[in-house]
């Protein structure tokens, strides 16, 4: 199934907002680290509901924020949540970004990068659209060390890339992005029930749930364009 078909369905049944709620606990910490200056142009790749871009615009007084998504219904939903004229949405694919070379100060992508059909090509595209010194903030909870994420692939028709932390660093560098930082950001907010509640529908063992959220959380890799 295509990105469009899969994620249009997600948007239609409200999963864009559901993801926003779940991803905010880690996203906000990564967003808080970004060196965005007033007036900067920021691109949110795989924006879903678009919450991250709007937070960047509000918090940092960013000049313009663009959200790109491959699913038209996601972009439509995102557009319907704001009437800020400095925020815009486009439908496009990670594989061939419709943005001019050096046009962007910062690229943000949360829980989306691993859906790229050719992640190396996507990194080269990101390096191309970023001005020299611009940053790429890439957050992923689907990654090799997070063993609890491995089964997610079975539940989704789009093929996912599962790199480990070192592979992310190497791929960034191959694409011309200096690696400035790498970190796992724990989700300290998700409610983890008492021992007695396990097994739950989703988790056999409490310690796995703790590890998944409080330890592995979201892997953040920050690149800086040459």
């Amino acid at each position: 199934m295509s990105v469009r078909a899969e994620f249009d369905a997600w948007a239609a049944d409200g999963r864009d907002r559901g993801m926003e709620d779940r991803h905010w606990a880690t996203a906000k910490h990564a967003l808080g680290r970004m060196p965005v200056e007033p007036g900067d142009v920021v691109l949110d790749l795989g924006c879903g509901s678009g919450y991250a871009g709007r937070a960047i615009r509000d918090t940092y007084d960013a000049g313009t924020v663009y959200g790109l998504d491959g699913a038209p219904k996601m972009a439509e939903n995102a557009a319907s949540y704001t009437d800020d004229p400095q925020v815009g949405y486009v439908v496009g694919d990670f594989g061939s970004l419709p943005f001019a070379t050096d046009a962007i100060d910062h690229v943000w992508s949360m829980e989306a990068f691993y859906y790229a059909a050719d992640p190396h090509e996507t990194l080269r595209e990101i390096a191309r659209v970023l001005r020299p010194g611009g940053t790429f903030y890439c957050g992923v909870n689907f990654y090799e060390e997070n063993v609890h994420s491995h089964e997610w692939q079975d539940r989704i028709s789009v093929e996912m890339t599962r790199w480990d932390a070192g592979e992310y660093r190497e791929a960034f560098r191959d694409a011309g992005l200096h690696v400035a930082e790498q970190d796992t950001i724990p989700d300290r907010e998700v409610d983890i029930p008492d021992e007695s509640a396990f097994p739950t529908d989703d988790w056999e063992r409490r310690e796995d749930m703790v590890e998944r959220y409080r330890e592995f959380g979201t892997l953040l890799t920050v690149g800086v364009a040459e």
């Binding site: 663009y66 557009a79 486009v90 061939s96 970004l97 419709p98 046009a103």
Partner: protein, 63 residues
Amino acid sequence: MKESLLDVLCCPLDKHDLELEDAVGDDDVESGTLVCTECGERYPIEDGIPNLLPPDMREETPA
């Protein structure tokens, strides 16, 4: 979309500039077509959102 978006957009295929045709709406374009100044590929704007998927990934929505 705001017309100023044209300053940063480009054709996803060959990265050349886009030109706006048949625009409905003022500064805030509701519908129209973005045309690549190099390869001539045409990209629709619907409900204010430009669809810049490469043509082979774009499933035409019924008119």
